[in-house]
Structures are given as structure tokens and as C-alpha cells.
Symmetry: C2
């Protein structure tokens, strides 16, 4: 039996770790969420911090999430999702399709980073409160221009593949990640997201289709699923959302 | 004989296209730089704009650079470099090594994006001049904290692999991309880069080793190599560099 996967990610936020969790859950592989284990079992934030600070064995990583299995010490959310997807039936079988799935995963990562940067345009090291005027300007550009462009793009991808998933009949890691991104956008920017979604019905349908997949549905209903909060990537600051009347 | 690769990228900046060009040159494969061909040959900015605007055949892409070969229509710089590297001997042979190379490529992409966002913290749609105070704040965080952290990370990777390349004895696409990122950082932030590089001698040596590879050296000496300029990712705004005396 292969060694179970170990995920190292901050225990208090869904963050980028959640993209990895969804792939692990849908792949139905044995894994442990080390950051959320008790300290007595080697878990907790300190175990994750060891990776952030470079105090760990194996291939160096820049920042969590980190997936560990034997000699594999892998960071970068998109690389982890691609790796797991290719290994566990959540990616196309051919090289071209796998690379397209990776490119989609990276475009989702770009969208997620831009959503994050609405509340941290000056730097992730500073508090939101210390960059609020800048955040309002950046968020206006995100909700007004970038978000509709991204959703329109994924709608075109669905039109090209014929759906219901981004690459056609079979779900891939990119569909799971898009689901998570949409959940976060809806949490953080309910008004702007509703407005932009009106032009992307296929994307909205994909979101519900992923939510209804049996393993995903079971996971979402479990205590393992963490709600969004105000420390993560997606934060609900009403002043950064689109205006109600515009 | 396989169809030559076609790269679609803006003709006036090295930008993200340059990361792809370095891999194509080192791989020594037939390719054409469509954006820099004359309009009569189907080239120019308009050919690239068709991809940006979604007016093109095949798999939809979000933004250039795009690599096209027969049915492959691939965007996302890191995905393109990974794909070409795996196909043309510029990636490790095993799955784990390839995935580590991809993760390194993604960390380099993060560094490049953070360098870009120093001059566009509020939005890529606005002029630099309209976000200059914000740019100064963001650049201070980049040159003071992020840049040294990134270079220190790549130094640790070299220490772990034993060098001289990021993954050991053989060069991969990640080494070529790190070279290009370092060239850009040195152009944009000469003072901050010199300061941060003092703590990363292995990284500096890798840069020179890539520069001296015969195909890369020939490319850099050719008219195909585009100098950095003030419209690209890396821009030299002295007010965003570290202070001379701090």
C-alpha cells in the first residue's frame, strides 16, 4: 500500500490548501491534514511553519500548501493539483489534454490571486486596514473588469469543449478548482459575482455539478470542510464589492 | 517532420514570451515568432490580439503567450515551459522530478508577477503614473522583504540539489526561466538586486552558467533577443529601487 499523502497547510483558513483538499477527496486516496492534527501527533501550525521557514527535510519549498509522500515534497497549489489529477484519474489521459488542464488550473490560480490582491494590493505583510484606500481602487478594477473577463473566459472554454466540464465529459482537477474559486468569489463579492455570473450560465451550472458529485457532496457536508473567513484569500469586505445600485 | 511551433506574443516587449523563447532556443526546435513577423505573413500585434480577444481557433486561451502546434493551443507561460521542457530534454526524466521542476517554474512566475506588480499594484489597466504612490509602497515591500526571500529560496534549492542547476547536474526549463527573471530583476532594481544577490552566490553562478550555454549565448548575441524596456514586466523606475544609502 502506498504511503498516505500528508498535506501541510495553515489550520485556520481554507486558503490554497482547500484546492488540494478537494482533489484528494474526489480522488478518494488516503491522506492526512497535518496542520489540523493535534500537536501531540506532529500537527498544528508549527508543523506548517517549519515548511514556511525552510526547516524541513527534502526538496525545499517556498510556501505552503505542501504535499508530502515519501521522497515527494511538492509545493505550488497548481503543481500539486496537476500531479494528483494525473495520478488519480482527474486529468485527461493524453499529454495535450493534461497540459490544457494544467493551463486552466493556472488561469484559475491567477483569478484567485487577483481576488486576494483586492484586499492586499500593497503587500501581504501589511494589514488590510493599512491599505484600504488602495484596496478600494484595486477592487473596483477587479469587480468591474477582471472578474467578468475571467468568467467569460471559462464560459468560452465550456462552449469549446461542449461541457459539462471544462475539458468535456470527464471532470478534472481544474473543474474542482474552479468550483472552489467560484465559492470564494461568491462569498467575498456577492453583488459583483452575481452580476458577472449572469453572463456565464455554463460556469454556474458547472459549479452545481461539481457540488453534487457524491464524494464532493459528502466532503462539503462533513466537519472537514472549513467555512471561508476573514483571514483567508477570500474575504467579505462589503466596501470592496460592487455597488448595489451601479 | 513535426509542424514548427508558433509563438504568439506581443512584438514590443520581451515580457512573458521571453521565457518561452529561451526554452525553444535551448531545445533547438523549429519555431516562429508570429508577433514579430510582418503582417503580410500573418504576423504583427494583430495576430496576437486575436488570441487576447478570443478570436482564434482551437482551445480558448485567456492571454498570451500562446504556443500553437497542430491541435495544441497552449497558454500560461509555466505550462508552456513545462510542456516544452518535458518534450525536449529540458526536464528530469521521472514524474517526481518533472513535477518539482514545474513547481520551481511556478515559484519563478510568482516572483516575476510580484516584480510586475511593484509598478502596477492597483491594476494593469491603469498607467503607472496613476498609481505611483501605491507603487512606491509596494516596491518597498518587494525589494525589502520579498526579493531577498525568493533569492534565498533558490539558494536553498541549489544547496539541496548540489547544483550547479536547480535540480542537479542537468539544466531544466526552470533554470532558463530563473536566468530570465534574474536578468529582469537586475535591469529593474539594480541596487536592491545587488544587495539581495550578495546572500545568494549560487544563484548568481547559475545565472552566468545559463548565459554561457552555447545555444543561449548565440541567442543572446542575436537580433532575436529583445532588450528590456519600459513597457514590459521589468521596468527601471529608480524611485522604486532600494535607496542608495539604506
Amino acid at each position: 500500500m502506498p504511503t498516505p499523502y500528508s498535506l501541510y497547510y495553515w489550520p485556520d483558513i481554507p486558503g490554497r490548501g482547500e484546492f488540494v483538499r478537494l482533489v484528494l477527496e474526489e480522488a478518494d486516496v488516503p491522506w492526512r491534514d497535518v496542520g489540523r492534527l493535534p500537536r501531540e501527533q506532529g500537527g498544528g501550525a508549527e508543523a506548517v511553519l517549519a515548511f514556511y521557514a525552510g526547516r524541513h527535510a527534502g526538496h525545499p519549498i517556498f510556501a505552503p500548501p505542501v504535499l508530502v509522500q515519501d521522497e515527494l515534497v511538492l509545493a505550488q497549489t497548481a503543481a500539486i493539483c496537476h500531479f494528483l489529477g494525473c495520478r488519480h484519474g482527474l486529468a485527461p489521459d493524453d499529454e495535450r489534454g493534461r497540459t490544457h488542464a494544467l493551463a486552466l488550473e493556472l488561469t484559475i490560480a491567477d483569478l484567485v490571486l487577483e481576488a486576494h490582491d483586492t484586499h492586499h494590493p500593497i503587500g501581504a505583510m501589511l494589514y488590510y486596514e493599512d491599505q484600504q484606500p488602495e484596496a478600494k481602487r484595486r477592487a473596483a478594477s477587479f469587480t468591474g473588469e477582471r472578474l467578468p473577463r475571467f468568467l467569460g473566459y471559462f464560459e468560452r472554454v465550456l462552449g469549446h469543449s461542449g461541457g459539462p466540464y471544462l475539458l468535456g465529459a470527464r471532470a478534472s482537477h481544474a473543474d474542482l478548482s474552479l468550483f472552489q474559486a467560484l465559492e470564494g468569489l461568491d462569498y467575498a463579492f456577492p453583488r459583483a459575482f452575481a452580476r458577472a455570473s449572469a453572463g456565464a450560465p455554463g460556469v454556474a451550472a458547472l459549479r452545481e455539478r461539481v457540488r453534487a458529485r457524491p464524494r464532493i457532496a459528502a466532503y462539503l457536508a462533513s466537519a472537514r470542510r472549513m467555512p471561508f473567513n476573514q483571514q483567508g484569500i477570500f474575504r467579505r469586505y462589503p466596501e470592496l464589492d460592487a455597488d448595489a445600485d451601479s
